[in-house]
């Protein structure tokens, strides 16, 4: 009966398989070891991510390989993004460990759900099939909903998890509906097959456009861009800070991969249809995000709105790839979007990292006033936070400046001058609230004199993180050419 069945080539999926196996092992370690093994579980999670990185780097050939009946693709783009996800998740674990231990939240399930969520992200990054993409997204999101709700004593966390869950399910539904329309029009679920079907130009453009609207709405929800941004401030605010740190970093990389797989790898011939949608959302996000952030007194909400405006910038780069039907600028535009995501993740890690570093048992840094006089308490971490704020504001020469600069270059290259002016103007508006944080840290008297307690690994990593923000700003070439190289190898 199964004469024509060939066992799929498992080699490209080794990192995923290893991660899944290790997650199951860690589950058993927790069941057998119990409370005594908490440190072991965290260490095992870190080691797992490290070995995954080694496997991914070791098998990275730069060639595009497909497996599992063309549902799984392993290309340079996937390898690069997976490495970034491992790094982000590992940093999240190191930053959040002490915070969770102080509050009795460092259950083994936290690390397990982190790993399963990472697996979902890897599946999304490597998806060449609508089904795999959707299942990866659900695996990632489901783990995150559970992690947000894990602090059961806090009514705010539960409310945030509920909002996130309901809106996230709605977004998944929209995405799935849109994908079904694309399937109806092209009669294939394979992303590379969709591209071929579109190249034949026989599909109905109205159905395709109809499907695209829902697909764009679905991932806009997940990215948290205006007008689908309502959940972002509430969830960032309600979730415990380690969850906020996680939600604002690695999933953004995975969602970016999903957008690129769907829009660029799958439906680039339809760019004239989806580019205006992305541009409208991008401009609205930059305006609303920056204006609303000014009014915030809670630093987590402020960073949430700033995240909305950053995601807007990223979409702006994606919406300028195809100009007048030519994809001449496509590579520059998409790699600047990728660079922007990497820069944002780096800054977001450092900003929430500082908040976690300053928190201690029974005390959470949440309000802008809590940062007052940080310079007198710890000049080094005040400098790190200053780097982040300068970088987010786009002040030269930090990584955020170069990210904004390359996005604006591609916008101007596509001749959207008014959009570029709006983006620059609202970045200047945004500088106000970033600099207010710096003013709080350097020119106000501290309201709290307790010494900062933190583990050595978190301190070291946070310092490296802050220095990286400055370092990549001074020497942006390496990372930029890495992004370009990965995309060039995967796209052409």
């Amino acid at each position: 009966m199964l004469t024509n069945f060939v066992l799929p080539n498992l080699a490209p999926a080794y990192p995923e398989l290893f991660l899944l196996a290790m997650a199951c092992v860690i589950l058993l370690v927790d069941v057998i070891g119990g409370v005594a093994c908490r440190t072991l579980v965290a260490a095992l999670s870190l080691v797992t991510l490290l070995i995954c990185a080694v496997i991914t780097a070791g098998t990275a050939t730069g060639e595009t390989t497909m497996t599992f009946a063309n549902m799984f693709v392993d290309d340079a783009f996937a390898d690069l993004l997976k490495m970034l996800v491992y790094g982000a998740v590992a940093i999240v674990i190191v930053y959040s460990r002490r915070y969770l231990r102080d509050r009795g939240l460092d259950k083994a399930e936290y690390y397990l759900l982190l790993l399963f969520s990472t697996l979902g992200m890897m599946v999304m990054i490597s998806a060449n099939h609508f089904l795999a993409l959707y299942l990866g997204l659900e695996l990632m999101s489901l783990s995150i909903y559970a992690m947000v709700a894990m602090d059961r004593e806090s009514a705010r966390s539960t409310e945030a998890a509920m909002k996130y869950f309901i809106l996230g399910s709605l977004a998944s539904g929209l995405l799935l509906y849109g994908l079904s329309m694309l399937y109806g029009a092209t009669r294939t679920l394979e992303i590379s097959g969709v591209l071929q079907a579109l190249a034949m130009n026989q599909s109905n453009e109205i159905i395709l456009g109809f499907g695209l609207v829902f697909v764009v709405a679905g991932f806009a929800f997940k990215l948290g861009v205006v007008p689908f941004h309502m959940w972002v401030p509430d969830v960032y605010h309600g979730a415990t800070t380690p969850m906020t740190l996680f939600i604002s970093t690695a999933p953004k990389i995975a969602t970016f991969a999903m957008v690129l797989r769907l829009m660029v790898f799958g439906t680039i011939p339809l760019a004239p249809l989806w580019q205006p949608m992305l541009m409208i959302m991008a401009v609205l996000s930059i305006i609303v995000g920056n204006l609303a952030a000014i009014a915030q007194t809670n630093i987590k909400r402020m960073l949430a709105y700033s995240g909305i405006s950053h995601m807007g910038f990223m979409l702006l780069a994606l919406s300028t790839g195809v100009v007048h039907g030519h994809a001449a600028y496509a590579l520059a535009a998409y790699s600047s979007a990728l660079y922007y995501v990497v820069a944002y993740v780096m800054m977001s890690l450092a900003s929430f990292g500082v908040l976690l570093l300053m928190s201690r048992a029974g005390y959470d840094v949440e309000m802008l006033e809590d940062l007052k006089g940080l310079n007198q308490r710890s000049p080094w971490y005040a400098a790190m936070m200053m780097f982040v704020m300068f970088s987010m504001a786009g002040i030269p020469f930090f990584v955020g400046f170069f990210a904004k600069f390359s996005v604006l270059l591609s916008v101007i290259g596509a001749e959207f001058y008014i959009v570029a002016v709006i983006a620059v103007a609202f970045s200047l508006v945004g500088a106000f609230y970033y600099l207010r944080v710096v003013k709080n840290m350097y020119f106000d008297a501290p309201s709290d004199a307790a010494p900062i307690v933190a583990t050595m690994d978190a301190r070291l990593l946070l310092s490296l993180n802050g220095l990286a923000i400055a370092g990549f700003g001074l020497f942006p070439g390496g990372l930029m050419s890495l992004c370009q190289e990965a995309l060039a190898r995967s796209l052409y």
Binding site: F5, P8, L20, F68, E109, L139, L142, A149, G184
Partner: protein, 221 residues
């Protein structure tokens, strides 16, 4: 226009499905809502049966109606749901929600109801050959070409399991259960220790201070 029997069945199933789904969200009693959902599942199964998807139809009835909905019914009956509070604001939100919903349905109908998804624009499905088994075909695909999403779905179920446990398992504060392993391993030295104390010397009793204290003890006893 004459309709063959299958088309009549299709419209009957669809009409009952839509009405049942509407009743799910409008029914006052949550138990009724669950029962209407069961009705909706039955009709959906009927529609799938018309599409020759027998296995899926049977699974829908077995898994959703047989297992999930019965469990759901139990949960709904156990929970003390204040339906009036849940429905608060339903009628005030209804006009706006209905208008937005109807506009969306109308717009989507313009696209989907037009010629794009008509029977003419889609190739007719090939008639299955004799002895064709839907179940066998599904099984073969599921474990060959679609093994990757199939396994992913199982991982999602595992995550749901872990999440359900971590969100609901709680150690009760007044829990008096003992750990037998610890009980067996306990040694006498863990439970009591002999403390050497100096012999107590009775303090001389001062009459007017001791009297009320003695009286108190007497009243307690």
């Amino acid at each position: 226009m004459t309709m063959d029997f299958q088309t009549v069945l299709f419209y009957v199933f669809s009409a009952v499905l839509v009405l049942a789904a509407l009743r799910v969200i409008t029914a006052r009693n949550p138990v009724h809502a669950v029962l209407f959902l069961v009705l909706a599942f039955f009709n959906a199964a009927g529609l799938w049966m018309l599409l020759h998807a027998e296995f899926l139809a049977i699974m829908l009835v077995m898994v959703y109606v047989g297992a999930v909905m019965v469990l759901f019914l139990f949960v709904v009956m156990m929970l003390d749901i204040n339906i009036e509070r849940l429905r608060q604001g339903f009628w005030s939100y209804l006009p706006l929600g209905a208008v937005v919903g109807l506009i969306m349905v109308g717009e989507m109908g313009l696209i989907l109801g037009g010629s794009y998804f008509g029977l003419e624009s889609l190739p007719a499905a090939a008639a299955p050959e004799a002895g064709f088994s839907n179940t066998k075909a599904l099984g073969r695909l599921l474990f060959t070409d679609y093994v990757y999403p199939f396994e992913l779905a199982s991982v999602i179920l595992l995550v749901a399991l872990i999440a359900a446990v971590v969100l609901t398992l709680r150690q009760r504060k007044d829990n008096k259960a003992m750990n037998p392993r610890l009980q067996v391993r306990v040694k006498a030295a863990d439970r009591f220790r002999i403390v050497k104390m100096a012999a107590e010397v009775e303090a001389p009793v001062v009459a007017n201070e001791a009297a009320p204290a003695a009286g108190q003890e007497g009243s307690k006893a």
